[in-house]
Symmetry: C2
Subunit: 469 residues, 2 copies
């Protein structure tokens, strides 16, 4: 761990994706243009920014340069916000100058039915490869490394690494899907990176996973993809993440024949439909989710439980203020093969002292609606349950959408006990004020589905057991 | 249909649950008290409200009465916001006076381990039954019929029937779970009723489903429950809903042995664990969902597609602005056994005219990111696809969380074509401004999970074919 030598692949990716200088070729002040949208996204960039425009002398506070050749330094990253017809010339100019890597937004390459598309893409690849320059795209929305504010993309999206949070790195082949998922940042999910690669002429999801292995801000890695040139390279990247103790959660799309057919017309990549994906990823300790809406929550859970000791089969205690939700949690745990913890007599006696007479000091422990009028009581019950050696993880179905004033205390309890506390948001006020506060807590995991919560707890041993092995 | 005679059960439920007059026994001005919270919830009640208090002469603009016997009329509904020790006397006073029905909040009845609890509950039941008075509870949070503002409960919750919306009626045995689900109203889901019954000493979920059969504001019925005294009565109520052309969607909890055990300590009702629930409900055309977070969306979908002609197996067209989401949709449809529609050559030619050159005029039809900068183009593609006789339903994965300005047009298209349009919210900004606007459209269905969307489309034929049969 950590002693692994850096591969040339990693080194060149690091220069490109952690750039100290960025050129925007085709920078613009025209509303709606990719050039303007990209410039806006780079407003917070901490490095040196060079807009390149034949037409403009300034964009905002930035002086424009007429061409790549005129820049005062060789940029680590160049963004080609130009029409497809201009891409090859600009790419060549970047390669000649020694640029670290280029982002190509333009479409009309291998995703086309006509063979010219694939030929055009092969030319881009050759131009870059000749000079050892990296290439992201074509047909990509770009990348964002939030630590340096390097948001090298044209899409509007809210996000960023939030202070004190478990940041996760998101890798998505599809730009739009990646940006849709990245909008979790609006309710407080901490993202360190959003990396999309589109047609993957050079850099693909395997490269991006490998890159994140050495990025300290990405404490766990979420991946969604449809096709790679070599499944083995992706498996190797997941294995490297494993050695770096970084959990990887994967939502693969294009898993059916109709989905795989659609991949052809989306990114023109190979879904490797016959490859035994599930088994190979599973062997490497990757956690596989089938629903993209659970990808982020599951990855954040693994980031927030970093360092907790994970048994082979976690025994779950359930603590609710709603008997119905407690029943649902018991059902779900059972269906997922997770044992319900059997709290000892001392725990039950301590719980009975806290709970109203008509409440249940069993597992599920139903603190009843009383817990909503007396939130500290629920926290005391959580502490009692977590102190029991028969309990490995605590699941709290949460019915109200507002703040309880107890989230920080619950997070601290999880931290001290070294055991996960998962809040399952039962309220259909999905982004109520309380949800945002739960997300902000470093050791409190949030799920909006009981099923996803229990599935994540079920996959926790696999994700952790394999790490570093 | 409609000619079915009203049962005595229905008539008494209607008086109680659509009350013209409500008494609140134990009305209070003490902050946090059930009596005050209930009075606040009834601020919008359109009928006559009678607070009953021995201590106070007024609460707000309402004059208090000292006892049930002092009221100027016999109320249709009385709410007992009093401690368990006072319940029997107050219940008896209500029964003597001829009150239509009572809500009993108090806990400490059949859900207790000690046999006294069950005996106490049997006494309540007997007091009410003797005079033909209905009883909701004990151990319930009450009910809300929004058309009249009759919110006869103590829980704070946002909600209400929204103008012009497909209102659904929600029946939940668990009060807290029902209120958690009802918070969908915060993002614009139209709820006509929220009915919870707790220990179900008299009125149970079967009665509440039967009541909603004749409530015009409830266009479809969502149910979550854990135990009923007679499964056959619930099956009969679903069958009646069927004859009234009202779809019923059910999320049953306590389905596993550990969940069923927890039911005993929650409401003390019988989960009838050996009853063949799934087959019996399925036979009656009820749609069964396993995840409560999909219950409301699925029910709203069935309400919003009322009157659309439903084939035996809907052929789905997919239209996306994100190729990745289109692939996911194709995968999901295939996994759910839904055929992808095969649009005719004319449709493909018309689509090709609208789409940019690098987009895919297939199914899934990928309008690319162009659709996000030109939303009317997406709407024109939707119209082309819906006009094809090979298309029975349209699924649009939606990646951005803000308004497109096209939601009303899409809803109108669905209405004219008589075919469902389902927007699947891919954005993890779960309650972004656009989501609220989609919910407000009468013919546009919203799902936050592709899987739930395809499952709902898959269950649509069953829910509709059986109706009225």
């Amino acid at each position: 761990m950590g002693s692994e030598p850096t591969s040339p692949n990693s080194a060149s990716l690091r220069r490109f994706l952690n750039p100290r200088s960025i050129a925007v070729i085709g920078a613009s002040d025209r509303p709606g243009s990719l050039g303007l949208r990209t410039m806006r996204n780079l407003e917070g960039f901490s490095g040196r920014l060079y807009p390149v425009s034949r037409r403009l002398s300034r964009i905002g506070r930035h002086e424009c340069h007429g061409a790549m050749a005129d820049l005062p330094e060789v940029p680590d990253c160049a963004i080609l916000a130009v029409p497809a017809a201009a891409v090859e010339d600009e790419l060549r100019a970047c390669a000649e100058r020694g640029v670290g890597g280029c982002v190509v937004f333009a479409s009309g390459y291998a995703e086309l039915e006509a063979p010219e598309g694939a030929a055009r893409q092969a030319r881009l690849r050759a131009i870059a490869a000749k000079k050892g320059m990296r290439l992201l795209g074509p047909n990509t929305t770009g990348f964002a490394s939030f630590a340096s504010g390097a948001h090298a993309g044209f899409a509007e999206f809210p996000g960023g690494l939030l202070d004190g949070q478990a940041g996760i790195g998101l890798v998505s082949q599809s730009g739009a899907l990646g940006l849709a998922l990245a909008q979790a940042a609006t309710h407080g999910t901490g993202l360190s990176h959003v990396l999309t690669c589109g047609n993957s002429a050079d850099i693909d999801v395997a490269d991006l996973v490998e890159f994140l292995c050495d990025e300290p801000d990405a404490r766990a890695i979420a991946v969604t993809f449809e096709g790679v040139s070599s499944p083995e390279r992706l498996i190797a990247a997941v294995s490297k993440a494993n050695r770096r103790a970084k959990p990887v959660v994967i939502c693969r799309i294009g898993t059916t024949s109709s989905g795989a057919a659609a991949v052809r017309w989306h990114t023109g990549t190979d879904p490797n439909h016959d490859y035994p994906w599930d088994r190979a990823l599973d062997d490497m300790g990757a956690v596989i989710v089938s629903r993209p809406e659970t990808l982020i929550e599951t990855t954040v859970f693994l980031a927030k439980t970093e360092g907790f000791s994970c048994p082979a089969l976690p025994r779950v205690a359930i603590l609710s203020s709603s008997g119905g939700s407690g029943i649902l949690a018991a059902d779900c745990a059972t269906l997922m093969g997770l044992p319900l913890a059997d709290p000892g007599p001392r725990t039950r006696a301590l719980l009975a002292k806290e709970l109203p007479g008509f409440a249940s000091a069993r597992n599920p422990c139903d603190a009843t609606a009383q817990a909503t009028s007396d939130p500290p009581m629920l926290t005391r019950c959580a502490e009692i349950l977590l102190s029991d050696r028969a309990v490995d993880a605590l699941v709290i179905p949460w019915g109200k959408a507002w703040d309880s004033g107890q989230f920080a205390a619950l997070s601290a309890l999880a931290s001290v006990a070294g055991k996960p506390i998962c809040l399952v948001w039962m309220s259909q006020w999905l982004e109520g004020p309380g949800a945002l506060q739960v997300e902000a807590e470093p050791r409190l995991s949030l799920f909006r589905s009981m099923e996803s919560c229990m599935a994540a707890l079920g996959s926790w041993p696999k994700a952790r057991r394999s790490l570093g092995s």
